[in-house]
């Protein structure tokens, strides 16, 4: 069956990030002057307001900052998955990412659990950065 869930919609600024996902790389903005990784995208470092930055590949390692089980249906394409697990992952580089946790028994999920990125090629054009236990 064709993938029918909402798909990412890159814009000019974030296209390199989404291209990176296709190549199974998790790219973060790195601002050298504040030695600061930032996510999601911004054209300015919120620490020292520098606009000088580069893409750097994340290790993809982190821990579960918090998590929930979604039971409410907001979009019909999630009907079969409900309830599904949503999480915030604290990357070792500092930024936190909203994501899905996969390949894990719900009873095992804990705040602080070590996880790593898993690239899910949901369509030929789109890859989602999900996370699974280490």
């Amino acid at each position: 069956m064709a993938y029918d869930k909402p798909l990412p919609n890159p814009d000019e600024n974030t296209q390199p990030f989404f291209d990176g996902l296709r190549e199974h790389k998790l790219l973060l903005q790195y601002f050298p002057s504040a030695d600061h990784y930032q996510y999601p995208y911004s054209d300015r470092c919120y620490k020292d307001w520098s606009t000088d930055w580069e893409w750097r590949e994340s290790t993809g390692n982190g821990e579960v900052y918090t998590w929930v089980r979604m039971h409410q249906l907001y979009h019909p394409s999630w009907k079969e998955e409900i309830p599904y697990t949503l999480a915030v992952v604290q990357l070792d580089e500092g930024p936190r990412m909203n994501t899905n946790l996969v390949n894990v028994d719900v009873d095992e999920i804990r705040v602080g659990m070590r996880v790593k990125v898993l690239f899910d090629d949901v369509t030929d054009e789109h890859t989602l950065p999900k996370f699974e236990p280490v």
Partner: protein, 396 residues
């Protein structure tokens, strides 16, 4: 030591419209009803109003909320102060604060602060009203949110709640105790939408929304409006209804930065906001008689209690009886009108309206006996913004 402004200003008029599933009117209509009720309560005339601050709720995000044109709709011709304000759930406290500062310094005499909303449509669900607000197809990294299945404010607060619960060993039954306690108050509140008594069993049987939140952990969505009129203490003394004097004011806005250096879930802006307001009022947590806390979710109440120093971190639940449905069990004097969970959802005006009622001593069967210091909170975003008002029936 308190600040010299303590007790120098007051809320002199309160207007609460019919609340909840009231159909066939837009937000402006509710705003008009609320200001009509508020000037009647204060014993003022329309032309006395020379300040207007407005805050739209969900309809503001939908593009149909109240804004500056409300002045024309209401025909207010004497305005010396006018603004549309928005720091989400913290706005109502901020409106009263800026109004108090303005009247204290002679910029206006009677400032009407209005929250009005009408997102509920006949035949539509509350979730649709909120979850659909302002929804456009996001682009860039924001488009990952629906791609992962993140939707609505329920999700962001459930994420914050989970972190708090795991950190301190708080259970769903604990959250249920907050929900049941507030419902017991709502039973005695004629303004409240949900007045059927609730048990812990009912709580556990209510459907999951975003686990750890059941339906009964989440606030209502309401059509309605609340207007408070702010003036100087000197003017308030001679008006028709007893004033709720403003003793303390504060704000604290930690913002939202998804980064390791900022903690989310186990802190909020209430700490900074509360310290500022306590200092102005010359009181501390030990002096507080009644709390009216922004309760978008049961969790938010526990978080707020702790940030105001009324309990140690992780220990707010200790203020609640094991079974708050037991009529013999003494309830904490927190959210004495049922709050947003059970009475009505007017963003930051829910706690302020009940705070005025309690300070005046007009709470009927739900009135708290000792009500000299009433602490009201507003909270917006996902614990991003916060405002505090300390109200008292006493000028000094």
């Amino acid at each position: 030591m308190s600040d010299p402004i303590r007790g120098q200003t007051a809320i002199c008029g309160l207007g609460i419209t019919e609340m909840g599933k009231v159909y066939g009117h837009d937000a402006s209509w509710f705003a008009g009803e609320s200001i009509r009720l508020a000037i009647e309560d204060a014993g003022l005339e329309k032309d006395d109003i020379d300040g207007l601050l407005v805050n739209p709720g969900i309809t503001g995000m939908m593009g149909t909320g109240i804004s500056i044109p409300l002045q024309g709709y209401l025909g207010l011709r004497n305005l010396r102060l006018l603004n549309h304000m928005n720091s989400f759930g913290a706005t109502a406290s901020a409106m009263v604060q800026y109004a108090a500062l303005a009247v204290h310094h002679g910029m206006a005499n009677y400032v009407a602060c209005i929250f009005a909303d009408a997102p509920l449509q006949q035949g539509g669900s509350a979730g649709a009203a909120y979850g659909g607000a302002g929804r456009r197809g996001p682009t860039g990294m924001a488009s990952l949110m629906p791609a992962f299945g993140f939707y609505g404010a329920n999700t962001s607060y459930a994420l914050a709640a989970r972190r708090y619960m795991e950190r301190y060993g708080i259970t769903n039954n604990d959250l249920g105790r907050v929900s049941v306690a507030q419902r017991r108050y709502a039973v005695d509140n004629p303004h409240a939408t949900m007045r059927q008594p609730l048990t812990l069993e009912d709580y556990h049987n209510s459907r999951w929304i975003v686990e750890p939140f059941h339906l009964l952990d989440c606030c209502l969505v309401s059509n309605g409006a609340v207007c408070t009129i702010v003036t100087t203490a000197e003017r308030a003394r001679d008006l028709k209804s007893s004033p709720a004097y403003v003793w303390g004011m504060g704000q604290g806005h930690p913002g939202n930065f998804p980064h390791a250096e900022i903690e989310v879930g186990t802190t909020s802006g209430a700490t900074v906001s509360g310290e500022t307001a306590y200092r102005m009022a010359g009181v501390g947590p030990e002096d507080v008689d009644v709390c009216e806390f922004y309760d978008c979710y049961t969790y938010t109440v526990l978080r707020t209690i702790e940030d105001y120093g009324l309990a140690k971190p992780g220990e707010a639940i200790g203020l609640y009886p094991d079974d708050p449905a037991d009529p013999e069990a003494e309830l904490p004097t927190i959210n004495t009108g049922g709050g947003q969970l059970s009475s009505y959802y007017m963003w930051g005006m829910t706690p302020i309206s009940e705070g005025v009622i309690q300070a005046r001593g007009s709470g009927g069967d739900r009135q708290v006996e000792k009500h000299d210091i009433v602490l009201c909170s507003g909270n917006g975003g996902t614990l991003d913004t916060h405002g505090t008002l300390i109200l008292s029936p006493n000028a000094n």
